[in-house]
Amino acid sequence: MTLLRRLAGVGIYLRTLTAAALVWTAIAWWVRNPVLLPPPVRVAEALWGLAMDLELFQNAAISLGRMLLSLALASALAMPLGFAMGMSRLTEDLVDPIVEGLRPISGIAWIPLALFIFGIGNTLPIFIMTYAAFFPILLGTIAGVHSVDRRLVNAARTMGVPRSTIIGRVLIPASLPPLLVAVRLGAASAWTAVVAAELIGAPSGLGYAIEWYRGLLMTPQVMAYIATIGVLGFACDAALRWLNRALTPWQPIADVGSAR
């Protein structure tokens, strides 16, 4: 039954995308300017060419690598801080004003200053993405710790469980679901930032490739790279959703897509 449903879903998906491709072809035929709007066939050709050159995979690997590194960095910074802030009033009072003061400044607004500090290269996109992923993960961790049932902590405490064990065996597992949602939000926000950061200040990566081909007025290649960014963004989210399910099988998956 569910398989049939899935197949029907795939059918509708293909039908809609085919219809969209036909409309696109018609408009492209009407515009008659392959630089402005190449037909989908040309974009597919460009995608194939870029893939055969391995250029597409190189740039994708660079961007994905930066993304993973930044996500790891942001988690390593934000999660301990989030646990500290969630567990201690004092820490939260001390640090919260700084967090709330910096949070409205988007990662992208840091690009000019970061360009000056780091120059064009690998560090700039990693810095911008780490910054972009940091806040969702931090806030999610704090919310996760706050959402833990106090009775569980108190019960453990009454039974004389030491603090470190409470953190390891009670707090972390109980706050895992919101925390993983937070990582997904962080990944989404980092992936948005990577394009901006690479577009302006990196000598490689997907964002750079888009801008490079725009400069050459090779629109099919531009569109092929844009599609790649979309597919990879979707794949990253799907992978994290899978991780979510694997790590917290007791929890229904929250749809965080709306918060993008």
């Binding site: 995308l17 009072d93 409205p104 840091w110 725009r214 597919v231 709306s258």
Partner: protein, 259 residues
């Protein structure tokens, strides 16, 4: 152990003040790095930029684009979301298209927008409406679906027509969720406009289309005034904060039942 409100507020000031003082001290010690931004210079730069009217003008330009793009997105996305939420077949058929484009960040579309519309306001407004479209449409659909079935059935039993139903039952029921969508959309719209202006500045040789993002790029690439860049960053943060606060207040006023 329990701290009073005043004590908690005082704690809140401690670390930021300490950090700013530390930053100032470091900057004064490292006076060989002439361009390093330090708080006192940032403050004078802020007074300069606000006093000369440059910064307020740039903010107004950026805000104008954000509101324009946001309005376009809302005019398309909210009615579309209402239809998609109400008519199952429309949703099933359009959803693949929306889900295919949603993972593509607005900034990735920017090169195409520049190609189609040049480096002026039109491209910026396009990027903003693209960015704002997705949160709006998705939250509208979710809001329509969250309307209580009992209410719909009660209204249907009383012979309410489709149009009245939409206006008096579905729309008010979906409004809180639409409001959430608007807040998210306004936030991403503001981020997108800064990115778009920055990138346009970077790639068109700093043409004069204005806006805060462009201003920052000019300070980076031409006059190299880091203090002024920091002022712009603070302004970007303040505007983002103010936009969210204002919209939240307006929504709370429009929907007193959600408070």
């Amino acid at each position: 152990m329990t701290a009073t409100v005043a004590q908690r507020a005082a704690r809140g000031f401690m670390l930021p003040v300490a950090l700013i003082l530390l930053w100032q001290a470091l900057g004064m010690l490292m006076h060989d790095v002439k361009r390093m931004p330090i708080p006192s210079r940032v403050l004078t730069a802020a007074v300069d930029l606000v006093g000369s009217g440059e910064l307020p003008l740039a903010i107004m330009q950026s805000l104008g684009r954000v509101f324009g793009g946001f309005a376009v997105a809302a005019l398309v996305a909210i009615p579309l979301g209402l239809v998609m939420g109400n008519v199952r077949s429309v949703e099933r058929n359009l959803d693949p298209l929306i889900e295919s484009f949603r993972p593509i960040a607005a900034i990735a579309i920017l090169p195409l927008a520049i190609l189609w519309m040049g480096t002026g306001t039109a491209a910026a407004v396009f990027i903003v409406s693209y960015a704002a479209f997705f949160p709006l449409v998705i939250n509208t659909v979710a809001g329509v679906k969250r309307v209580e079935r009992n209410l719909l059935q009660a209204a249907a039993t009383m012979g309410v027509g489709r149009a009245t139903m939409l206006r008096t039952v579905v729309l008010p029921g979906a409004l809180p969720s639409i409001g959430v969508g608007m807040r998210i959309a306004l936030g991403v719209a503001w981020t997108a406009i800064i990115a778009a202006e920055l990138a346009v500045g970077a790639k068109s040789g700093g043409g004069g289309s204005g806006g805060v993002g462009q201003m920052m790029f000019v300070f980076y690439a031409y006059s190299v005034e880091l203090n002024r860049i920091v002022v712009c960053m603070i302004a970007v943060g303040c505007v983002a904060y103010a936009l969210d606060r204002l919209l939240r207040a307006a929504l709370a006023r429009a929907m007193p039942w959600t408070r």
